[in-house]
Symmetry: C2
Subunit: 361 residues, 2 copies
C-alpha cells in the first residue's frame, strides 16, 4: 500500500453552511522524521467542532475538516520515531504540535506552549501555509509526541471521545488535587461532565454532580456521583457553603449562571476551574466575590502527554467508558449529528465510525 | 485609672458628609474574659476607611468611627487572657472577632470564618446590637486573638499601617509561594503596594513593580523592586510573557485595566491575586482569557494571626517600614487627610498620632 500524500475528508466551507459537509481530498504536510501517519477508524464529535464550524468562536480558516478525538492505526512511522510502532492502535487529540524546546514543553505543559502550538484542525502550519485538518477524514499525519498508544482493553468507539473531552476534564482534576478526602464538583453533565464524574470518582474523591434540574440525576449517579445538586432548586448552594475543594465547570453556557452562589460553595482557597468555553460574553468578576473564601478561578487547556497516558491507563484499569452512540460517517449523518450537538441532544457523546465504507480500505 | 466603659472617637454621620468628623463618646461592648482594652496611641488611615465613609462600598452603619491600623497599650486584660500582658504595646487590625470553633478558625483561616466575622468597625455585634467602632478613638476592646504584640524594634507610627495594608499583601505573598526563585509582581505602588515590594523582596523573590507610569520608579526601587514595568508604555507586557509565578494586584481601580495583557505575563498556573477592592464594577472574565497559560485568579482577605506575627517579626528582622507621614488627629486634619487619600495624594501612608492631645492621658 502506498503512503498517502493526501487525505480524504469531510469539509465545511463556511459558518453560513456549517451543516453542509463536502467530501474532498486535501494535502498532508510533508512527512517528517518524527511523524506518524494514522489511518483513521473512528472520531468523536466534540462540542469544539460545532463551535468552530458554526462560527461561535470567531473567525476560522475554511474549508475545514474538523474532528479531534481520533482513533486509528499507525500505518507509517518516521525514521526517528520511538514512541509509536507501525501497526499500533493509537489516538490523537486536539493538539498536534508544540515547539518541544521551551520551559513549558519540557515540564509537561506542552499544551501551554507559547511559541508554536498547532491545533489538530484550523491552525496554519508556518512552514507550508497548510491549515491543519482533523479527523472526519481518512488519515492524519502527526508528530509522535501527540500520538498515544491505546490500551488494548479500551474499545475504539468508547475511547475516542476521551482524546479531547476526557483529557479536558482529567487534567484539571489531577492538577488540582482531586483524590481521597477531597470534595469535588462537576458542573454540567454533558460530554465533558460525564467523564469528569467518572474520573473524579476513579481518583478517589467525594463527587458531586451539579446540573440545572434533576433530569440527569440517575445518569450522574451511574457515572459515579455520590451526590447531586440541582441549581433550579431554591437554596441549592446553602448546605454546601465553604466545603468544595475543587469544582470543574464544564458548563457550555454562562446564561443565567449565578457565579457568586457557586463560588460560595468553595472551601477557603478552593479551585474553580473552567473547562467549557461558552460562546457568550464572559462573567463579571469583582474582587469582592472572591474574598469571603479566597477562592481561585482558573481554566486549563487539554492535558499533557503524560496525563493522556495516565488517563487511558486509568480508564483501562477501572473500566471507564464514554457513553457514546455510533454514527456512520457520511454527509447526511454529519449534518444531523452537528445539529444535535448544538442543541445538546446527546447523552453524552457520538463517535463517527464506518470509515472503510466511505474512504475504502 | 478606672477602666473605660465607653470610648471617645471621631465619627462620620453619613456618606453625604463623609469629611465631617464629630468627636463623641460611644459605648464599648461588655468586657469579656478574653478581652483586652487597648488605649490607642496611633492609627493608620486606610483606603478602606475612605471607601466606607464615602459610601463607595455600599450601605454601612452610621454614625461610624473608622480606623483599623491601631497601635496602643494593653491597659486591661480579661481573666482568661494568655496571649497579651497588661502594659504591652500591641496592634489591632481590620478584624476583631471570628467564631474560633469552625474548620477555618482552627486552620489559620480565621479571616475566612463563615459563622461570625466582626470587622473592626461597621459590624453589628449580634449580642448587643452595638456597631463596632474603630481606631480614630481613645480606646478599643478586642478579643485577645485579634491583639498582636508589637516587636520592640518597630516604631509605633511606622508599624501601624502594617496592621491592615501590610497583612493584606503579606498573606497572599506567603500563601502563594513568594520566595527564592520566584518572579513576583506587585501592581499598584500605593499603601498596599509599597508593603508588597518590601515583603516580596524580604521573602527572597525577584520583585517587579508594575505601575502606570515611571513616576514612582525611584521609590519602587528603594522599596525593593528589582525591575519596573510601566503599563503606559507600548508593548510593556511582551518581554514578560508567561514568566510571573505570582502577581499581587493592589490597584485601587479597574478603569482602563487591560486584564488580558497582565494575565499574559503569568507563567502556566501562575496566581493572580487581587487585594485591592475597587469601587467600580468588576472585570469581565472569559474562560478563553485563562486557558493560554492556565492562570488562576483569586483574592485573599487580610491574614491569620500566625501570619500577622510572622510579618511583624520579618519587619523587625529586616528593618521594613511603612513610609508614613504623621498627622495629628483632630477634626480638621481628618477632613484633609481622607480627601487626600481619596485622591491618592499620599506616599504612601498616613498615621494619626497625638492621641493624648485630643483624648487626654
Amino acid at each position: 500500500m502506498p503512503y498517502p500524500e493526501e487525505a480524504e475528508g469531510f469539509q465545511v466551507d463556511s459558518p453560513d453552511s456549517w451543516t453542509t459537509f463536502h467530501k474532498r481530498y486535501f494535502p498532508l504536510n510533508p512527512f517528517g522524521d518524527y511523524d506518524v501517519d494514522v489511518k483513521i477508524e473512528a472520531c468523536g464529535i466534540c462540542g469544539s467542532d460545532v463551535h468552530i464550524i458554526s462560527g461561535g468562536w470567531g473567525k476560522q480558516h475554511f474549508p475545514l475538516c474538523v474532528g479531534h478525538e481520533i482513533v486509528g492505526t499507525a500505518i507509517r512511522v518516521g525514521p526517528k520515531v520511538t514512541l509509536i510502532k507501525e501497526g499500533q492502535r493509537v489516538g490523537v487529540g486536539a493538539q498536534v504540535f508544540s515547539c518541544g524546546e521551551c520551559k513549558q514543553c519540557k515540564n509537561d505543559n506542552e499544551t501551554y506552549c507559547q511559541y508554536k502550538l498547532i491545533d489538530t484542525y484550523g491552525s496554519k502550519w508556518p512552514e507550508t501555509g497548510l491549515v491543519s485538518q482533523g479527523g472526519y477524514a481518512s488519515h492524519i499525519r502527526v508528530h509522535e509526541w501527540w500520538v498515544f498508544p491505546i490500551p488494548e482493553k479500551l474499545e475504539t468507539t468508547i475511547v475516542a471521545p476521551m482524546l479531547c473531552a476526557g483529557i479536558t476534564v482529567f487534567s484539571p482534576l489531577v492538577r488540582n488535587g482531586c483524590g481521597p478526602g477531597k470534595k469535588v464538583g462537576i458542573v454540567g453533565i454533558g460530554g465533558l461532565g460525564h467523564f469528569g464524574l467518572q474520573f473524579a470518582k476513579a481518583l478517589g474523591a467525594e463527587v458531586w454532580a451539579i446540573s440545572r434540574t434533576r433530569a440527569k440525576e440517575e445518569d450522574a449517579r451511574k457515572l459515579g456521583a455520590d451526590g447531586f445538586i440541582a441549581t433550579a432548586e431554591e437554596g441549592w448552594e446553602k448546605p454546601h457553603r465553604c466545603t468544595f475543594d475543587l469544582i470543574v465547570n464544564a458548563a457550555n453556557s454562562t446564561k443565567n449562571f449565578d457565579l457568586a452562589k457557586y463560588l460560595s460553595m468553595m472551601d477557603v482557597h478552593g479551585h474553580w476551574i473552567n473547562v467549557g468555553l461558552p460562546e457568550e460574553e464572559g462573567q463579571v468578576i469583582k474582587a469582592q466575590h472572591l474574598i469571603s473564601n479566597g477562592v481561585l478561578i482558573g481554566a486549563t487547556h487539554l492535558g499533557s502527554r503524560r496525563e493522556m497516558l495516565q488517563m487511558l491507563q486509568l480508564a483501562a484499569d477501572k473500566n471507564l467508558k464514554a457513553w457514546a452512540e455510533e454514527v456512520q460517517i457520511n454527509e447526511e449523518n454529519l449534518a444531523v449529528a452537528v445539529q444535535r450537538m448544538k442543541k445538546g441532544d446527546v447523552r453524552y457523546r457520538m463517535t463517527l465510525t464506518g470509515y472503510d465504507k466511505v474512504f475504502g480500505n
